[in-house]
C-alpha cells in the first residue's frame, strides 16, 4: 500500500501545528478576499508571496494553496447574496444563487455552495492522490486545435446560460468577444483598440467588467426599485438543507465534480469553463429547465462543485510537471523557486513530504472551509437585512477598492463605472451580463488557439477534424447547436402551421 504510506506521510506533514495554522490562515484569508468583490487570489498571493520566503517550503505552499481554493469558496458568497461574483468562476453561481436569495433561500444557497464545494474538494483531492501523474499526461495531449474546439463548445454552451431571449444572449456574447480583443495582439504585437493608452495594452481586466456590470449595475437598478421591493429579506426560510434538498443537489454536485475535475487540468479558463458547462449540463438534464435562472438549487450545486474541483485539479500540471495552468499556479512556481526548489517531474520524488503534505492539506483545508463557512451562513444572511442606504455604498466602496487594487490604476475604476452604466442599461433591456463575461473570457482564447492551431498546421484547416480530441468537441458542439436550434425551428414551424390554418 504505497499510496497509504504516501498519504500517511502527507498527513504527518499537514497535521503539524505550524502547517495546520498556516493552512487555516490561508483558507481564512482566501474566504475573506473571496467575499470581498474585486480582490482576487492572484493579487493576494502576489502581495503575500514575499512573506512566504521566510517560511519553510511546505508551510508556504500550504498557505498559498489555501488562499487559492479558499477564494473559490468565498467568491460564491457575494455572488449569492448581492449578485456580485467575486471570482470569474462564480459568475454562474450568481445566476441562480441570487435568485434563491431573492426568494428568501439565501441560507440554503450558501449552505449548498459550501457543502458541494466540500464534496468536490474531497473527491478531487483523492483524484490528485491516486492519478496525478497520469492525468498530467492527458493535459499535455491537448494541442491548440483541441483547445480551440473545446472553447468553441464552451462558447456555444454559453447560450444555454441565458434564460431569456437567445438573440440577446448571442448579442451579449459578441459584445464580450469584442471587448476581449482590446490589447496588444500576441501574434503581431499590434495594438488593438487601445486608443494609445498604455494601460489598455494588456486588455481590460475581467474584474473591472464584472464589478461594473454586476456590482455597480445591480446597485443602480436596485436604487430604481422601492425599499419594499426587498421583502425577501424578512422571510428567510430553511437556512439549512433538508434531506429533500440534499437529494436534489447531490447528483449535480457529483456531475459537477467530474466535469470540473477534467476541465481544471487544462490551462486557461479551467474553473470558468467548468462552472458554466456544468450549469449547461444540469439545465439540459433537468426535468424542470424552466426553473433555471429563477433559483434552481441544481444551478448552484453543480457549478460550485465544478469550480472547486477544477481549482483543485489545476494543481496537477504544476505539481507533476512544473507547468503553470493559470496565473495563480505561476505564482506557486515562483514561490517554489524562491524556496530553492525546482518545480518539475522530479519534485514528487525529491520532496515527497512537500508533495503529499500539500495534498493532505488540501483535504484538511476543505474541511476547515466547510466548518468555517457553515456557521457563517447565518451571519451572511443577516447582512441582507442591512438597509439599502448602508449596504450599497459599502458594496460600491469595496468594488472601487477591489478594482483599484488590481493594477493600482485609477483608470480601472473609471472603466468599472462606465461598465456600471452599461450594466444598468443592459438590465433595463433584459440582456444578461453572464454571457457577455463568458464571451469576454473565451473570445480571446478562441482567437489565440485558432491562429496557433493554423500556424502549426501551416494553414491546413483539416487539423480540427483529424485530431480525435478536437473532432469529439466539434461533434459535441454540433449536437449542442441542434439541441439549441431545434426548439426554435419547431416553434417557427408551429407558427407557420397556425398561420396556414387561420
Amino acid at each position: 500500500m504505497e499510496l497509504f504510506n504516501d498519504l500517511l506521510l502527507g498527513f504527518s506533514v499537514a497535521l503539524t501545528p505550524m502547517n495546520l495554522a498556516y493552512g487555516f490562515l490561508g483558507v481564512l484569508l482566501g474566504t475573506i478576499i473571496g467575499v470581498l468583490p474585486g480582490l482576487g487570489p492572484v493579487a493576494t498571493i502576489s502581495i503575500l508571496l514575499p512573506v512566504t520566503f521566510a517560511l519553510p517550503a511546505p508551510a508556504a505552499l500550504i498557505m498559498l494553496a489555501g488562499i487559492y481554493y479558499g477564494a473559490q469558496y468565498g467568491g460564491s458568497t457575494t455572488a449569492i447574496l448581492v449578485n456580485l461574483p467575486g471570482e470569474s468562476s462564480s459568475v454562474v453561481t450568481a445566476i441562480d444563487g441570487y435568485q434563491m436569495a431573492r426568494k428568501g433561500q439565501a441560507g440554503l444557497a450558501l449552505a449548498t455552495a459550501a457543502l458541494c464545494s466540500f464534496i468536490a474538494g474531497t473527491l478531487a483531492t483523492i483524484v490528485i492522490a491516486v492519478a496525478a501523474p497520469a492525468l498530467a499526461e492527458v493535459a499535455l495531449d491537448f494541442g491548440p486545435a483541441d483547445y480551440f474546439s473545446l472553447m468553441l463548445f464552451g462558447l456555444v454552451a454559453a447560450v444555454i446560460l441565458a434564460h431569456g431571449s437567445i438573440v440577446k444572449a448571442i448579442g451579449m456574447i459578441l459584445v464580450g468577444i469584442l471587448l476581449g480583443t482590446i490589447g496588444i495582439d500576441a501574434n503581431t504585437s499590434v495594438e488593438r483598440f487601445t486608443f494609445g493608452i498604455p494601460s489598455f495594452g494588456d486588455g481590460i481586466d475581467f474584474a473591472v467588467i464584472a464589478m461594473g456590470m454586476f456590482g455597480i449595475g445591480e446597485t443602480i437598478s436596485n436604487l430604481g426599485g422601492s425599499e419594499q421591493g426587498r421583502t425577501f429579506v424578512k422571510e428567510v426560510k430553511n437556512l439549512w438543507p433538508r434531506w429533500a434538498d440534499i437529494k436534489r443537489f447531490i447528483k449535480p454536485a457529483l456531475r459537477g465534480t467530474a466535469l470540473g475535475g477534467c476541465l481544471g487540468l487544462l490551462p486557461g479558463g479551467g474553473p470558468v469553463l467548468a462552472s458554466f458547462s456544468t450549469y449547461a449540463l444540469e439545465k439540459k438534464l433537468s426535468k424542470t429547465p424552466g426553473e433555471f435562472g429563477k433559483g434552481a438549487i441544481e444551478g448552484v450545486a453543480g457549478p460550485e462543485a465544478a469550480n472547486n474541483a477544477a481549482a483543485q485539479t489545476a494543481f496537477i500540471p504544476m505539481l507533476t510537471l512544473g507547468l503553470p495552468s493559470s496565473a495563480v499556479m505561476a505564482l506557486m512556481i515562483g514561490a517554489l523557486m524562491m524556496q530553492g526548489l525546482s518545480p518539475g517531474p522530479q519534485l514528487m520524488n525529491q520532496r515527497p513530504d512537500l508533495f503529499w503534505g500539500l495534498i493532505a492539506s488540501m483535504w484538511l483545508g476543505n474541511l476547515m472551509l466547510v466548518i468555517l463557512n457553515l456557521p457563517l451562513v447565518g451571519i451572511w444572511v443577516k447582512l441582507l437585512s442591512v438597509p439599502y442606504r448602508m449596504l450599497y455604498p459599502a458594496i460600491m466602496l469595496f468594488c472601487c477598492i477591489g478594482v483599484y487594487s488590481i493594477h493600482n490604476n485609477a483608470l480601472d475604476v473609471v472603466l468599472a463605472a462606465i461598465f456600471g452604466g452599461f450594466g444598468f442599461l443592459a438590465k433595463k433591456l433584459h440582456c444578461e451580463p453572464a454571457p457577455l463575461l463568458l464571451g469576454f473570457i473565451l473570445g480571446p482564447m478562441i482567437e489565440e488557439t485558432l491562429r496557433r492551431a493554423l500556424l502549426i498546421s501551416h494553414g491546413d484547416p483539416t487539423v480540427f477534424v483529424t485530431r480525435p480530441i478536437s473532432l469529439s468537441f466539434l461533434v459535441l458542439t454540433f449536437l449542442l447547436l441542434i439541441v439549441l436550434v431545434a426548439p426554435m425551428i419547431r416553434v417557427t414551424r408551429q407558427r407557420a402551421f397556425e398561420e396556414s390554418t387561420d
Binding site: 498571493i45 495531449d141 500576441a186 504585437s189 495594438e191 495594452g201 510537471l321 512544473g322 507547468l323 500556424l455
Partner: protein, 338 residues
Amino acid sequence: MKAQPTATRRAVLSGVALAGAVLAAGLTSALPARAQADYPNQPITLIVPFAPGGASDFAARLLQPRLSAILGQQIVVENRDGAAGNVGMDLAARAKPDGYTLFLGNVGTVSINPYIFSNLRVKPLQDFIPISIVADTPGLLIANPAFPPNNVKELVEYVKARPGQVNFASPGSGSVNRLEMEAFRREAGLDMIHVPYKGGAGPATADVMGGHVSLMFVTISSGINHVKGGRLKALGVSTKQRVPQLPDVPTMTEQGFPKSVSSSWQGVLAPAGTPQPIINKLHAAIVEAMKDPTIKERMGESGVIAVSSPTPADFKAYIEADAAKWSGVIKDIGVKAD
C-alpha cells in the same frame, strides 16, 4: 513681481540677484552634497516591471535582503507590471532622480521594447543611468525528445531538408527568446514557422513537451528542470562557456554559431539625473551584495549566473551593445507595434 525698476533700484536689485544667485549656486551644490553624504537615509524603492513569481522578481527578491543590509536601509520591491514591462519602466523613468527609486530593468524592457513599441515614451538609454547587471540568464535551445535532431548540426541539416515545415514556439512575438531563434535561423539560413504564445514560458513549454511544436529557445531557468527530468532535450546553450548545471549541453558557439551568444539579463538602473556619488555608492553596494554565496547558490540552481558589472560604465556599454544587437534583429524581421 514685475516692477519697472529705476537706475538705483536696478543696481540694488542686480546686487540682490547676484547675491541670490551665489547663494543659490552654493545651496544647490551644498544640498545634494549633504543629501549624498548621508544617502541613503530612507527606504529605497526598487521597481520591478513584472508580476511576482517571474525571473525579474526572483532576482529582485534575492538581491533585496543583502542589499538592504549593506546600505543600512530597507529596499522595498514594488511590482508594477503591465504592457510588457513598459508601465513599470515609465513609472521609474519619471521618478525623482534622488537615488530612492531604482529600476530593475531587463533585456526586454531596456534592449527590445524601445524598438518594438514605437510609441514608447521612455528612451531607456537616455532616461536611465545603468548601475550594474545582477543576473545573466542564458538561453537554452530545447526540443521535444521525439524531435529527431540531437544537436545544432543535425538541426540545421534536418530543417534544410524540410524548409517551412518545422515549427518553433516562443513566449511572445517581441520576446528575447523569439529574437534568439530569429537571429540563429537567419545566420544558419533556416526556414521555420514561428508560433507565438503568451502568458510566460509555461504554455509554450507545455506545447513543446506535448509535441505540438518542435522546439524553442527558453531562458535556462524555465527549461533546466524539464531537461534534467528528461521531458525535454537541450540542443544548445547561448553562453560562451558551458553552463555548470548542464555540463553535457554544448554551447551554440561550440556548434559553429558564435553569434548565438545572448542573455536574458537583469540589472539595476536609476532615473537619469541621479547624482554620480549616489550611483557609485549603489554600484559598490550591488557588487558587494552579488558576492553573497546564498544569492550565487539560489541563482545557480536554476542555471542563472549571479554577476555584477566592474563599473557602471561597463554596464552602460553592455546595454548599448545588447540594444544594438536586438534592434538589428527586430529591423531584419520587421516586428513592429504602433
